[in-house]
Symmetry: C2
Subunit: 302 residues, 2 copies
DNA sequence: CAAAAGTGGTGCATTTTATGCACCGGTAGG
DNA sequence: CCTACCGGTGCATAAAATGCACCACTTTTG
């Protein structure tokens, strides 16, 4: 789209932090780029960048402009997909920011199922923690966010939510594997492996432990849910995750037990979009479908 | 804005119905304009106009595109005003589609008061019947609509509403001028002047009359509320309007009487905008102010 | 303290792009 | 059949964007 060229250049300058660097990135001379920026500022009626000795930076007006640019580009794509849609074939692209728990089973399965029916639709799956996910929506980097216990909730429009109690995973020969009701204090007495501080599950465990006047003492702390799932089979210890990221696997037997909601309040998984945004056809459809699936209950019986 | 030129050209072609006519309007050769359209269609990935022997017409894809264009332009203006706003001076333009009743007193007074505080803000006041007003919002021709008893209400987001009972106006020496409670049947017994069929007040009177098994028999029928207000002082007859368009004027004494709500249900005046649209700063502010004024009751004691 | 390596900004020749002109083929209506 | 429109196209020309060489300035570096 030719007429959006200037917009892309502005975004490049913003990314690069300097006109010369951006010019290289976009295969232009600094002089040409410089004049495009100047011309835009003249037409727009206000400076967009503040000139610093070491480069340029967006000023408040520029922040508004770049937000406008992103929304315009996204809108144009939406219209294009809408047009493609009315000419028959359903195509488009869906970008999703999601928590780690969605990676092993849920999202791969649902995306594959969707693509079977709509091969013209492509996907981006971006792993983001809950803060980043919402930020992604705001910059139009992702169309949808599927996150456990998001933080801000401003500019986050909830499309659906389902309860996800914190769940303990352990090897079948673990002493707690046969216990009836699992309490947090029991878990903390055994060796355990925990996600990093910024992960929601960790945050909930810490809060609840503190309420019980207990402290956590993880033998391993990791960013990766996948690591946790594998580690509890190596060393005899407890892992913590949410049900949607777990599945019975005959090849690797494991025991899953919900922690009593008396100890840790039940968290929620949220599907959401940027507040007020009209999603392109494909993301809107996929979101509807996810909502139906989530609300009708998941298949993995954990 | 240079980069929107193609968009304006597309709008011109749509208006003119032919590339050649549009080219004249926009001071271009038909050839140049033709190629711009073609280039846009190529970049966009789909035809926008269907070529007819006598000219061109938007196809469904084109309808989507032109809607997008209008929203783009309006958004850009919004951003520009927002920028102007954060640099101190409040400026911008407010376009209002309104019913006739707002013309004599309410809107002139409120606009003047607003402009006293914000001289940088300019206004367009467009008289529209209730159907046209909503259409104006949809095409971004107007930011706000202030109409009595709108029709569709889809894509019409209500910002506030106030009751406006149908009111009879007459010369002080009219036989009904001293009557306690005014019923519709009494009115229909006397000569009366009515607005045209498409006007809401007329529609309400007709409906109520029909319910009483009565018919209207206007001695004069007119599009103009102003004409009605003046005519009832010439010939001894009854006029019908809503309170916001009426005001006690010592120079031209007139009697106003509400019709009993037992006969004609109380109608409402609505302030609204296009559903889902983020208004530019100035219209948003003015709408807030109108809402406050309307809800706190009007000053003219009719 | 001075040289070097950055930065944004500008005049001018050059290249790329858009435009105007003259024309073609086709359809509608007299 | 003819006239009057319409959209579309080849080509020369006008306009706009770009690249190059350079300036003025600031920070970093030796």
């Amino acid at each position: 789209m030719k007429h959006l060229q200037t917009f892309f250049l502005i975004e490049a300058v913003n990314r690069a932090g300097s006109i010369r660097k951006a010019a290289e990135d976009m295969n232009l001379t600094a002089s040409a780029l410089n004049r495009r920026i100047q011309r835009f500022e003249a037409e727009f009626g206000s400076q967009i960048f503040e000139r610093l000795p070491r480069g340029v930076r967006l000023n408040p007006a520029g922040e508004l402009v770049i937000q406008h640019i992103r929304s315009q580009v996204s809108e144009l794509e939406r219209v294009q997909n809408q047009v493609a849609d009315l000419s028959g074939e359903r195509r488009g692209h869906i970008s999703i920011a999601c928590s780690q728990a969605l990676l092993p089973y849920f999202l791969p399965a649902e995306i594959a199922r969707y693509r079977e029916e709509h091969p013209g639709v492509s996907f981006s799956v971006n792993v983001r923690d809950r803060a980043q996910a919402e930020q992604d929506l705001g910059t139009f980097a992702s169309d949808l966010a599927l996150v456990f216990e998001p933080v801000h909730l401003v500019d986050f429009e909830i499309l659906c939510s389902i309860p996800q109690p914190v769940t303990v995973l352990m090897a079948p020969d673990h002493p707690l594997a046969t216990k009836e009701e699992l309490r947090l204090r029991d878990c903390l007495d055994y060796d355990h492996i925990l996600p990093s501080q910024h992960i929601a599950v960790r945050h909930m465990i810490e809060t609840s432990a503190h309420r019980l006047s207990r402290t956590t003492a993880p033998v391993v702390e990791t960013d990766s849910f996948e690591f946790i799932r594998h580690y509890v089979l190596q060393e005899k210890c407890l892992g913590f995750q949410i049900p949607i990221g777990l599945k019975e696997d005959p090849a690797r037997p494991m025991v899953y037990k919900k922690i009593s909601s008396k100890d840790i309040p039940i968290g929620h998984l949220f599907l959401g979009q940027l507040k007020g945004r009209t999603l392109p056809v494909a993301p809107a459809r996929f979101a509807l479908r996810l909502t139906a699936i989530l609300e009708n209950g998941l298949e993995n019986g954990v």
